[in-house]
C-alpha cells in the first residue's frame, strides 16, 4: 500500500483527496494544514508521495516543496493548484515537483498521476 501525505490548508480538500485515495487503496499516513507542518510530517513519516497545495498560510507549498526536496532529493511531490497560478506552478516544477493537478480535477486523474509517479 502506497503511503501518502496530504498537505492542504483547506480541510475540505484534505477530505476530498483523502476519500479519493482511500477508494484506490492508498494509505493516508498524515495530513498537514500548512507548509511547516507538511515539512515536519514528511521528515517524520517519510511518505511515498506528497500532495501539496500551493497557497497556504505559514510557508507556501513551494517553500515546503523546496525544504522537502532539500531533505530528500528523491521526494515525490505533486502540487495541487488552480487556474491563475501558472507562474507558481512553473516555479514548483523548477524546484522538483513531479507533476501538478489543476482544480477541479477528477478522481481518475489524481489516481493516474500518483500511480504513474510511483510506478505502480
Amino acid at each position: 500500500m502506497k503511503r501518502v501525505l496530504i498537505v492542504d490548508d483547506a480541510s475540505f480538500m484534505r477530505m476530498t483527496i483523502g476519500m479519493m485515495l482511500k477508494k484506490h487503496n492508498f494509505e493516508i499516513v498524515g495530513e498537514a494544514e500548512n507548509g511547516i507542518e507538511g515539512v515536519r510530517k514528511y521528515k517524520e513519516l517519510n511518505p511515498d508521495i506528497v500532495t501539496m497545495d500551493i497557497t497556504m498560510p505559514e510557508i507556501s507549498g513551494i517553500e515546503a516543496l523546496k525544504q522537502i526536496r532539500e531533505f530528500d532529493p528523491k521526494a515525490n511531490v505533486i502540487m495541487i493548484t488552480a487556474m491563475g497560478q501558472e507562474a507558481l506552478v512553473r516555479e514548483a516544477v523548477m524546484n522538483g515537483a513531479k507533476s501538478f493537478l489543476v482544480k477541479p480535477f477528477k478522481e481518475e486523474q489524481l489516481i493516474n498521476v500518483l500511480n504513474k509517479i510511483l510506478g505502480v
Binding site: 490548508d9 483547506a10 480541510s11 475540505f12 480538500m13 477530505m15 476530498t16 476519500m19 494544514e33 500548512n34 497557497t55 497556504m56 498560510p57 505559514e58 510557508i59 507556501s60 517553500e63 495541487i80 493548484t81 488552480a82 487556474m83 491563475g84 501558472e86 507562474a87 507558481l88 506552478v89 512553473r90 516555479e91 516544477v93 523548477m94 513531479k98 507533476s99 501538478f100 489543476v102 482544480k103 477541479p104 480535477f105 477528477k106 478522481e107 486523474q109 493516474n112 498521476v113 504513474k116 509517479i117
Partner: protein, 700 residues
C-alpha cells in the same frame, strides 16, 4: 466527480469551511474599510481565502460560487501585484461584499438541499470592468517597469541562441508531438515540465509554441495542435520515447527521428519568424515574472504572523445534541439508582460513599458537556458591523457600533435563536433611533451616533443589551398608534411608562409610517419577542427622550438543564423553575378570602394575590382542595407574579428539559406548560411556564 456531488460529509465539510472563510473575509473587509486602507497582509489573506473557496467550490462543481470567487481572486491578485497603487477602497469593499452576499445565498441554497444556480455574470462583469479600469491606470507604470534595463539572465529554453554558433555535438535529432489529456488544464505549464525535464537528456532543443509562460494563448494552442519539441541528443529512439512516455497526463505521443539538416532548417526558420522585438519583450517580461515570485514569497512569509494555529476540531451538532440527551438520561438514571425505593431507609455506608463519587463525576461530565455547547457571542456580534456599515451608508447616518462583552458564552441552540432578533434590534436602533447628523448637531449631540451591543452574565441568564443614543421612544406617538390599532388593553392614564413602551412589542405595532428597506418589513418587534420567548427569555425596554433607548434581552444560559422545584397535584408531578420561585408556604385560614366576583385571593404581607388552583386549571383529580391542606407557591417572572396552589412540594432537583411531545403541544392552548422532564423515580413531570400562567391569570 458526479458521484462526489451527493457525498454528504464532503458537502457538509465544504459548506462548513466555506461559510467560515466567508465570515472571516467579511470581517477582514469591514475592518479594512474602517482603517481606510488594505494592508499587504490582508490583501494576501483575502486572496488566499478566495483562492481556497474557488478551488473547493470547483471541486464540488459549484460553478456560481467558483465563478464569483475567481473574479474576486483576480481582483486581489491585481492588488497584490500593484501594491503601490492607490485604490478605491470603498468601491472594492462594495464589490467584495456583494460577492460575499452572493456566495452566502448560494451556500444557503445548498444547505437547504437546493441547487446553487444564482446568476453571477452581472457582478462578474462589474468586477471585470472595475479591474480593467484599474489596469488602465497602472499600465503606464508597468510599461516603464518593463523597459528597465535587464541583467542578461540566460533562460535555458532560449539557450539555442548560443548553441547556434557551436557545431552540434549530438548525433540524433528527434521531433516529438505531444497531446495532453483533455481537462488536464494548464497545458502550457505541463509542456514547461517537459522542457524542464528535457534538460536532463540534452541542452539542444527548441519547441513550438515557444513562449509557454507569458503567452496566455499558449495553453489553447497546445490543446489544439499539440506541443512540438525538437531536440538533438545522443540517446536512442527508445530512450527518447521512454523519456516522453513518462510524461504525466499524456494522451498521445508522436515521436519521429529526423535528419540533422531538417532540424537546422526548422530551427532557423523559427528563428527568423521570431521578431527581434518580441524576443526582447518576452525576455523582459520573464524578468518581470521573476520579480513577481519574490513578491509572492514575501507575501507568504508575512501571512505567517496573522494566521493562528488551530487547535480545534469541528463536531457534528447532532452528535452534541445526542451527547447532551445522554447526559440528561444519565443524571436521571443516577437518581433512580441512588434514590431507589428498595434501599430507602437502609444504612449503607459504602454505597453512599460510592454514590457520592458517582454524583461528583456525573455533575462534572454535565458541566463539561454544557461548556462544549457554549459558544461565545462574538461571531453574532461581529456580524452586526456589516449591518451597521450597510445601513449607515444607505441612510446617510453616521453610526459607530460599540461591542462589549462579546466573549460571553451561551448555548449553541440559544445563539441560533437570538441572531435574528439582535439583528432586528440593531436595525431598528439605526433606522428609528439614531437621528440624521444635522438633527444630532442641532441637539448638541456628537454627529456620530453610537449603538452599543453588550452582553453580560447575570446568574443563570445572559443579558444582551442593545443601546442607542438616539431620539428615544415617543410616548404620545406610541399611545396614538396603540389607539389606532386597538391595542390598548387598559386605560391610558393607568399605564406606567414601562407598560407604554412595552406596547411596541405587541403584534401589529409599528410607529414608523414609512416602511424602510431595513427595518419593518412587515415584521415588527413582536417577532423579536416571540423568538426570545421560544427559548425561555424575555425582552424589556427603557427609553429617555433624546437620550436613547435600551432594549434588554434576558436569555437563559442553556435550554437543556434547569434547577426545578417538583410539586405534586393529585397523582401528577409538575416542575417550577426554581429561579422563578419567590416563596412557598402553607397558608393560614384567615389570610384567604373571596372577592365579590368569586375570585379567591390571598393576602401576603399586605399584598393581595389571586390564587390559581392548579388542579382546576390542569384538570387533575385530587383530594386536597382546601387551601390549608396544600401548599401555596408564589412565583415571579418578568415582573409578573402568580400564586399557585398545589398538593405538596416534592423537592428540588436538576431537571433535563425536553420538548413537549406534539400531541401535548396541541392541547397546551393555555400555554401553561413549557416542557417536560423525567424525575428520579422514572415518572414524568411537566414543567410549568410561569409567564404563560401569569397571562392566564391576567385574562381571568
Amino acid at each position: 466527480m458526479t458521484e462526489l456531488y451527493g457525498n454528504e460529509p464532503m458537502m457538509e465539510m465544504f459548506l462548513f469551511e466555506t461559510s467560515q472563510l466567508i465570515e472571516q473575509l467579511e470581517q477582514l473587509i469591514i475592518s479594512c474599510e474602517k482603517s481606510g486602507h488594505y494592508t499587504e497582509d490582508t490583501i494576501n489573506e483575502i486572496f488566499r481565502i478566495m483562492h481556497t473557496i474557488k478551488g473547493s467550490s470547483s471541486m464540488m462543481m459549484q460553478d456560481s460560487i467558483s465563478a464569483i470567487s475567481h473574479s474576486i481572486e483576480d481582483l486581489f491578485f491585481f492588488l497584490r501585484e500593484n501594491k503601490h497603487k492607490v485604490i478605491n477602497n470603498s468601491a472594492i469593499s462594495d464589490l467584495v461584499l456583494e460577492g460575499i452576499d452572493l456566495i452566502k445565498v448560494e451556500i444557503e441554497k445548498l444547505k437547504n438541499g437546493d441547487k446553487a444556480d444564482g446568476n453571477t455574470s452581472e457582478l462578474q462583469d462589474r468586477i471585470k470592468s472595475f479591474l480593467a479600469d484599474m489596469q488602465i491606470d497602472t499600465s503606464s507604470q508597468v510599461v516603464s517597469e518593463l523597459k528597465s534595463p535587464d541583467n542578461e539572465k540566460q533562460q535555458y529554453y532560449l539557450s539555442m541562441d548560443k548553441k547556434k554558433i557551436i557545431a552540434s555535438k549530438y548525433k540524433n535529432a528527434f521531433k516529438a508531438t505531444i497531446h495532453f489529456e483533455e481537462d488536464c488544464e494548464m497545458e502550457n505549464i505541463r509542456a514547461y515540465t517537459i522542457v524542464h525535464n528535457v534538460c536532463d537528456i540534452t541542452d539542444e532543443f527548441f519547441h513550438i509554441p515557444e513562449n509557454l509562460i507569458d503567452d496566455d494563448e499558449s495553453a489553447g494552442k497546445i490543446r489544439q495542435k499539440g506541443f512540438q519539441i525538437y531536440l538533438k541528443t545522443d540517446s536512442s529512439y527508445e530512450e527518447v520515447q521512454d523519456f516522453f512516455m513518462q510524461t504525466l497526463f499524456l494522451r498521445e505521443l508522436k515521436l519521429d527521428q529526423i535528419e540533422d539538416s531538417e532540424y537546422e532548417q526548422l530551427r532557423d526558420a523559427k528563428q527568423k519568424m521570431n521578431d527581434k522585438e518580441e524576443f526582447i519583450a518576452s525576455k523582459l517580461s520573464e524578468e518581470h515574472h521573476e520579480d513577481n515570485h519574490e513578491v509572492n514569497h514575501e507575501g507568504n512569509k508575512e501571512i505567517q504572523s496573522i494566521s493562528t494555529k488551530q487547535n480545534v476540531i469541528s463536531v457534528n451538532m447532532a452528535k452534541l445534541d445526542k451527547l447532551m440527551d445522554l447526559v440528561g438520561e444519565m443524571v436521571i438514571a443516577e437518581d433512580m439508582v441512588i434514590q431507589n425505593p428498595d434501599i430507602k431507609g437502609l444504612e449503607l455506608e459504602n454505597f453512599q460513599k460510592a454514590a457520592r463519587q458517582l454524583q461528583k463525576i456525573s455533575s462534572e461530565i454535565q458541566d463539561i458537556v454544557m461548556s462544549i455547547r457554549m459558544v461565545p457571542l462574538s461571531a453574532t456580534f461581529l456580524k452586526m458591523h456589516r449591518i451597521v456599515r450597510d445601513m449607515s451608508k444607505k441612510l446617510g447616518k453616521k453610526v459607530n457600533l460599540k461591542i462589549i462583552g462579546e466573549e460571553t458564552e451561551v448555548d449553541k441552540n440559544v445563539i441560533e435563536h437570538i441572531s435574528d432578533p439582535i439583528m432586528h434590534l440593531v436595525r431598528n436602533a439605526i433606522d428609528h433611533g439614531i437621528e440624521f447628523p444635522e438633527e444630532r448637531t442641532a441637539k448638541n449631540k456628537p454627529e456620530e451616533g453610537t449603538v452599543t451591543l453588550e452582553a453580560k452574565n447575570a446568574g443563570n441568564d445572559v443579558l444582551v443589551i442593545v443601546k442607542d443614543d438616539g431620539r428615544g421612544l415617543n410616548k404620545e406617538e406610541i399611545l396614538k398608534k396603540a389607539r389606532e390599532n386597538g391595542l390598548l388593553y387598559k386605560a391610558e392614564a393607568e399605564m406606567s411608562e414601562r407598560e407604554i413602551y412595552n406596547m411596541i412589542f405587541l403584534p401589529g405595532f409599528s410607529t414608523k409610517d414609512n416602511v424602510t428597506e431595513f427595518s419593518g418589513r412587515g415584521v415588527g418587534m413582536d417577532v423579536v419577542v416571540k423568538n426570545i420567548e421560544t427559548i425561555g427569555g424575555s425582552v424589556s425596554i427603557d427609553s429617555t427622550p433624546d437620550q436613547g433607548s435600551v432594549i434588554t434581552l434576558k436569555i437563559p444560559l442553556t435550554l437543556a438543564i434547569i434547577d426545578g422545584m417538583n410539586i405534586r397535584v393529585g397523582s401528577s408531578y409538575y416542575t417550577i423553575p426554581t429561579i422563578s420561585i419567590r416563596e412557598s408556604f402553607r397558608p393560614q385560614e384567615d389570610s384567604i378570602f373571596t372577592d365579590p366576583n368569586g375570585n379567591e385571593l390571598i393576602m401576603v404581607r399586605g399584598q393581595c394575590f389571586p390564587i390559581l388552583r392548579l388542579h382546576e386549571l390542569l384538570k387533575v383529580r385530587t383530594d386536597i382542595t382546601r387551601f390549608t391542606d396544600g401548599i401555596i407557591t408564589i412565583a415571579e417572572q418578568d415582573g409578573r407574579t402568580v400564586c399557585l396552589f398545589s398538593d405538596e412540594l416534592i423537592g428540588q432537583q436538576q431537571v433535563v428539559v425536553k420538548a413537549l411531545p406534539e400531541y401535548i403541544r396541541k392541547l397546551n392552548k393555555t400555554k401553561a406548560l413549557a416542557g417536560c422532564t423525567l424525575l428520579g423515580d422514572g415518572s414524568i413531570s411537566l414543567i410549568l411556564d410561569i409567564t404563560g400562567l401569569a397571562n392566564i391569570k391576567g385574562l381571568a
